[in-house]
Symmetry: C2
Subunit: 350 residues, 2 copies
């Protein structure tokens, strides 16, 4: 099938190639910070938006049109594939994902099923097709939650501050833990491959909360599973991006994995990551709280990060975590323009 | 006044001196994990416990007697001094500290008063006197919350996940921010000096949530205030300990400050901290979630940490954060015995 011609600056940067300017996108760029999104939410439920491809594609596309970002990211929750494997999850307003029957034992893990994306989440694939075949002029990023982060919701029963139950399960029931990691790895691989087949041109793996673990635990309980996921996805020939919050201490471990891009939150400066030996493409890492500041502060901080990022090829501007609902969309528009203009000039002057 | 003779192993370790064994205490060692504490809570409110010196001293002393730890820490909340400066704070069960009129402007900051510990929190000082003059045979650690962490509650109005409002205030209102830091530094210094006068033999400063900031922001918005606090307390000649969660990226900044002990959570291994150039006494850093594991796992992990910590003088065993209510006190007792016995043997064998 002939592929639609798109702006491939983001994909080039993922592969560490030279680009004319620094590409930019924002985690959670589509959503509650946008008045158009809030207007849609008054007419449709979250379920309706994510299950109707036209609506979901519209929401995914909005920030691309408004902010001129270089990539779109599918408007979905990391919980989307869970009902397919037998986990009842409900997104509760003001709380987050809530799961009624948390995992407690190996037999609970054994009961989990497998996902068949074509029959379980056809609306996800239809949304991707609609966007990539017709609507978008930038690459669409597909994504999945990583096993630790998904498992944390399944074991805690919802969002957590300390992940005590998750860690206690991991330490006390290693057999059940690795069985769960295997099932969730399988789910992620199948789900992501279907997204790629439908047209996703890059994949971001969100291990949002894995920074709660120390390095030794990451190496033993998590890394082999991540190794497997990235190895199996490597053959799909799309860039693979890793991301988590508060995980600076794991950045070197991520860099070891067969992936293309390491996403950083604001705690590890790009410059320091380079010094530590992270030679792969880096993505990040403006503290999203800075978007709540006056424009002069935003520009100053963005410039500092850009100056570090542009020291070698393989850099993508992003936030260190998702856009907050309180952010003024005007600031995201100005920021994108600033990143593009500043990096174009800087690249020309080299 | 003649000082009571106490076990000074902990104080020696704070000063980097040779000790016969590795001293140990646990953050939040007194509290909900202890059945005796839960029994008291059925008869008395939190307010009654903290305001009656005999009750509060009993709760503070319990873990020393039960676990044989080498230091006691005053049973108090970091919010304790706030009403004295005009902040109405309520500790809500299952939520944490809630503040009705959050700080919004410089004029809100200007309204804050000063603490006079003798008249505002006499029960704190009476508890310390009772413990140190009569009851304890180990040093009592006094403490205070650091300005960023206290400010985060005052600005957010309660606990927070992202500290957005705090950061937005810091970036947008630098004048008000630094005025607030000054007021809170003043409060902490006065409060802590009174604790030392009453008999506290070491001070831990809890900047629990400052790890939410990147290094550049820490240097600009926080470090000068911490520099002032530690410099003023230095003259008191008691060891000064710094602690925060998820703050590995700030450990070097802390080490620069005129303090004695850097407390680490589990994300930065002791060995790596030494390699980074942290030559001062280190305190930590077992992940408290490991206490929910079978004993074999706890012992194995404690041993790994001890082996790293004992490579030079100046090491105190602790958790990387507070004890969880779900922890079995039996495990803390066994852990203390293990730390003492293992380090005694290891020190002899050198």
């Amino acid at each position: 099938m002939a592929e639609k011609k798109i702006n491939d600056t983001f994909l080039k940067a993922c592969r560490g190639e030279k680009t004319d300017y620094v590409p930019v996108w924002y985690m959670r760029q589509a959503g509650r910070s946008q008045p158009e999104y809030r207007a849609i939410k008054e007419k449709y439920s979250l379920f309706e938006i994510t299950h109707q491809p036209e609506l979901c594609a519209y929401v995914t596309r909005l920030p691309v049109e408004q902010y001129d970002v270089d990539a779109a990211i599918l408007y979905k929750d990391i919980m989307t594939p869970l009902p397919a494997i037998g986990v009842n999850v409900e997104i509760k307003s003001g709380i987050g994902p809530v799961i009624d029957d948390p995992i407690r034992s190996l037999s609970d893990v054994d009961k989990l099923g497998e996902i068949d994306p074509e029959s379980d989440v056809p609306y996800v694939l239809d949304t991707i097709k609609l966007l990539t075949k017709e609507q978008l002029e930038v690459p669409l990023i597909g994504f999945t939650g990583a096993p630790f982060t998904i498992a944390s919701y399944m074991i805690e029963g919802g969002p957590s501050k300390n992940y005590n139950k998750t860690k206690a399960f991991m330490y006390a029931e290693p057999k059940a833990w690795f069985a769960l990691m295997d099932k969730l790895a399988e789910m992620s691989i199948t789900y992501v491959k279907a997204q790629i087949n439908a047209g996703a041109r890059a994949i971001q793996i969100f291990d949002s909360w894995v920074g709660a673990l120390n390095v030794a635990d990451y190496r033993y309980y998590i890394k082999p599973t991540m190794e497997r996921i990235f190895s199996e996805l490597k053959n799909e020939n799309v860039p693979l991006i890793m991301f988590g919050v508060g995980a600076s201490h794991l950045a070197k471990e991520w860099h070891d994995l067969p992936l293309d891009v390491v996403g950083l939150d604001w705690r590890l400066p790009i410059q320091e990551a380079r010094t530590m030996g992270l030679t792969k493409t880096l993505q990040g890492n403006l503290d999203p709280a800075i978007l709540l500041s006056p424009w002069e502060v935003i520009e100053e901080r963005a410039k500092e990060i850009l100056d570090q990022g542009m020291q070698q090829n393989g850099y993508i501007f992003n936030l260190g975590h998702g856009v907050f609902p309180q952010v003024n969309p005007e600031n995201l528009k100005k920021l994108t323009t600033f990143i593009h203009d500043y990096s174009k000039k800087a690249k020309v002057s080299i």
